[in-house]
Symmetry: C2
Subunit: 140 residues, 2 copies
DNA sequence: ATTCACTTGCAACAATGTTGCAAATATTTT
DNA sequence: AAAATATTTGCAACATTGTTGCAAGTGAAT
């Protein structure tokens, strides 16, 4: 199902289509939330070498297929960018939510990071907003 | 100079005063900005075991002497909390700035993280705001 | 000064991340 | 469709980072 979409995405981003890339991309497409390197290794089973996962994520990042989300536990999460992103310049201005109950990290595509005024002398280039708490699924 | 202040802070937080803790705390007091585990190891010279640094940071975190700042490079930064923090509950609502030029991470104590409204179902417990760009010192 | 609790350093280990290179696979050309 | 070319993969070896148990050392309390 998501196999076709994965191939499309790879093509659109000028990445050759290989088993590993397709599989990892499918994981992102299937999983509704961000994934860490470790998550991917686990979810992919024994199928791919660790190094391949590193390099694939690296490639996806460079092409703008995914973006990285900082964390406080030394395990960066990655999430798919929206279609408009893949082109070239990023439009990655949404808030990220980390659920303290289930541990998932989610892109809140509909919540835009508010503008922020810094003291004189500082230049803003990018803003990242991380909200932690209880997510929709856990909150019932 | 900062030696006395370091001891005071340790006492106030019910931590016994040892060479390592004093030294690491002094580093924070002297350095105006956040430090990673690696920074501390380097700055402290060969003086302390790696494990001691881990455990010291852990202890400082638990006592609320320092807070951690998430990053996108898998190397969490730590910074001193303001005095009011150390008591018990955190009041850690300032923006963090990461300079893309010098690489420093700085607490902008005067810039408060704006409130943010999340979609129905989400509960906010903590908000972290990371701004990257060019800092005051690099911008001249 | 002695006792007791806590902290440190060491050693051993586990996990995570990096690099070079030959084999395998994808893409392009003929 | 097959050959040539470019890219990607897996392996091995290694570097770095983080964790745990335990004996020795140090700080704090009696």
């Amino acid at each position: 199902m998501s196999e076709k979409k994965a191939e499309e995405l790879l093509k659109k981003n000028q990445l050759s289509i290989t088993g590993g890339r397709r599989k990892i991309l499918e994981l992102f497409l299937q999983h509704d939330g961000a994934l860490s390197h470790g998550d991917i290794e686990k979810k992919a089973g024994e199928k791919f070498d660790r190094v391949t996962v590193y390099r694939t994520l690296q490639a996806f990042l460079e092409k703008g297929l995914i973006h990285s989300i900082p964390t406080s536990d030394n395990s960066i999460r990655y999430a798919l960018c929206k279609d408009e992103c893949s082109g070239g310049q990023h439009r990655d201005d949404h808030v990220h939510f980390i659920c303290n109950t289930c541990g998932n990290t989610i892109c809140l595509e509909d919540v835009t990071v508010p503008a922020i005024k810094l003291p004189r002398g500082y230049v803003t280039e990018q803003v990242e907003m991380l909200v932690s708490g209880v997510c929709k699924s856990c909150n019932r």
